[in-house]
């Protein structure tokens, strides 16, 4: 192994360097200059995002534990963009007095979780996959409990760490069965050896249940709402977009790569889970008043839509998932950006508080409307194309009933997304949230989201690039 081969891990190494530089800056700056770390972190991370787009080499490292293919690089770049938006949006929140002594840790922890996700995405065997998954989860629990003197935040942190420890245990049990039967944990060696027998089925079910916990698919979703509500808004946005996207991607890769021989089985499992996730997520979302809880359930039901791409097991599905991940990042972060700024300025998070928002803050309302339309899948914005491709991927393999159910669920979701739009534009209110001026970073973050929503839908080059690479796995 020479130093040149380490360039395969370029995305990870650059990220670790960014985290270390922020940590060094935190140690060596005096109290007065500490505020500059915020700007430094955003600039460094923007640089990292740009470096990510440089042409990269592909190959394997550590005897096949770590692999890089062009599709991995695309997904990493997408996650980089999403995290950059999260960092830009959280700038205003980190500026507040209560965070003045601990904001550098926010960056270090957040970047550590992203490093974990990158290793997870590039994993070539179950060990690397598991290490990446834990690196992505444990700092996240610390981030959820970031407002440590607010009891809801601490409760969310402990719930996340307990449920993730539990699900990791279940998943590891499944992996241990696979190792016990086939004597290997490398994806490449497992896929030809895998045969349909009862122990394999059991192993698959354990593994899938563990992953379903992490993605919060329906029978395993109960932790999500409390954690999402308890966490600070910016962390919730990260949790529901970036970490969910990475987990869905790796689940898809493992289902395609390790379990292709039992695809008849897992297609049935995914079918049932997808229907339950979409429907139950939607039905619970209708009744929510707190916007963070609302988005939590809406993102549970969005995870069900992701499964439509998983179920086909084809190139189209893979492309649709990566594409929808990109769209979902822009739309959900747009919604969260608005919720975060309103929650920070006025402390209000309920739907009734948004009554008459259009008359006081028209720009914010329009941004929110556009992002919600994208989540619901209304044509001019990118969300429509994302959903359309997911449906196409499932229909290509003949899952017509599933597509029909998904379409009905889209209509149900339209109802509750429009409830917020109605509150903002039509409902009258005696004391609406007063007008306020947003700072530069907030405007930048929301601007990127809107630009993404409009451009990603129409720039067909993005879809074609992903589609070309999707079969590389």
């Amino acid at each position: 192994m020479n130093l040149n081969s380490f360039l395969l891990m370029r995305h990870e190494i650059v990220l670790i360097a960014v985290a270390l530089i922020i940590l060094i800056a935190e140690i060596f700056t005096s109290e007065q200059n500490k505020g500059r770390i915020r700007g430094l972190a955003i600039i460094l991370f923007a640089l990292n995002t740009i470096i990510g787009f440089f042409p990269a080499t592909t190959g394997t490292l550590f005897g096949g534990m770590f692999t890089t293919i062009p599709l991995h690089i695309v997904v990493k770049n997408i996650l980089n963009i999403g995290t950059l938006i999260v960092l830009i949006q959280s700038n205003a929140w980190l500026k507040t007095e209560e965070n003045s002594d601990k904001f550098p840790e926010f960056y270090v922890l957040l970047i550590s979780t992203l490093v974990g996700m990158f290793y997870m995405i590039s994993a070539g065997d179950f060990l690397m996959f598991y290490l990446g998954l834990e690196l992505a989860t444990i700092p996240l629990a610390a981030l959820v409990a970031y407002d440590r003197f607010r009891s809801q935040s601490a409760e969310g942190g402990i719930k996340l760490i307990l449920s993730s420890a539990f699900s990791s245990g279940i998943m590891l049990y499944g992996i241990s069965m696979i190792y016990g039967m086939y004597g290997s944990i490398y994806f490449d060696m497992l896929s030809p050896a895998m045969a349909m027998n009862s122990l394999t089925i059991l192993a698959f079910i354990f593994f899938f249940a563990g992953m379903a916990f992490k993605i919060s698919l329906v029978p395993f979703h109960l932790w999500a709402a409390d954690v999402y509500e308890g966490a600070p808004v910016n962390i919730t946005s990260y949790l529901s977009v970036i970490s969910k996207g990475a987990a869905v991607f790796i689940l898809t890769v493992i289902l395609f790569k390790v379990f292709p021989t039992i695809s008849d089985l897992w297609q049935k499992v995914v079918w049932v889970i997808a229907v339950m996730t979409m429907t139950i997520g939607n039905l619970f979302a209708i009744r929510q008043q707190n916007l963070k809880r609302f988005i939590a359930f809406s993102s549970i039901s969005q995870a069900g839509f992701f499964l439509l791409g998983v179920i086909g097991g084809n190139e189209m599905g893979m492309t649709a998932i990566v594409y929808y991940m990109l769209v979902y990042i822009f739309s959900n972060l747009g919604v969260f950006g608005v919720i975060a700024i309103i929650s920070n300025k006025s402390g209000k998070e309920n739907m009734d508080d948004y009554n008459g928002l259009y008359h006081t803050n028209p720009m914010l309302s329009l941004t929110m409307m556009l992002a919600l339309f994208s989540l619901a899948g209304i044509p001019p914005v990118a969300g429509f194309f994302g959903k359309f491709f997911l449906f196409t991927a499932a229909a290509q393999k003949g899952f017509y009933i599933l597509v029909l159910i998904a379409t009905i669920n889209t209509i149900i979701s339209l109802y509750y997304y429009l409830l917020i739009v109605k509150a903002m534009f039509i409902n009258k209110s005696e004391n609406p949230i007063p007008y306020f001026k947003s700072d530069f970073y907030t405007k930048l973050g929301l601007g990127i989201c809107i630009a993404g929503l409009v451009i990603v839908g129409f720039a067909s080059g993005i879809w074609e690039t992903i589609s070309k690479l999707a079969f590389g796995m």
């Binding site: 020479n2 130093l3 270390l20 940590l23 935190e26 140690i27 027998n197 009862s198 122990l199 059991l202």
Partner: protein
């Protein structure tokens, strides 16, 4: 392997473990006395309540200690074959030390080493 084996394994596991617990509970000689209910504290009788609150500083010390404990695991194998591995391994271990020292300095700056 068929499904019957799986069920059989499960039953055997439950019977073996459960049986061992129940049987030892039933068959072992029992002796009850006051000393036996004490928490183990090196033979000295406990004073006061055992459910005390501990200073959180203990945990911080334990975590910092753990970091250096794990460090040994990595450094020792490297030190044994240092000459064979050459320069690149040396650079890697220097980077490793650098990250560790950074962590210690961070703990220092955050006053984790001060006993309050």
């Amino acid at each position: 392997m068929s499904g019957e084996f799986l069920i059989l394994f499960f039953i055997v596991a439950v019977v073996l473990v459960g049986g061992a617990i129940i049987f030892s509970n039933y068959a072992a000689p029992t002796s009850e006395n006051a000393v036996k209910h004490d928490p183990y504290e090196c033979g000295i009788p406990t004073k006061g309540l055992t459910w005390l609150q501990f200073n959180v500083g203990y945990y911080l010390f334990a975590i910092i200690f753990l970091v250096f404990d794990v460090e040994i695991v990595f450094v020792f194998p490297w030190a044994v074959v240092m000459k064979d591995l050459g320069m690149s391994a040396f650079i890697e271990i220097v980077i490793f030390f650098f990250v560790l020292v950074l962590g210690l300095m961070y703990a220092w700056k955050k006053k984790a080493l001060v006993w309050e």
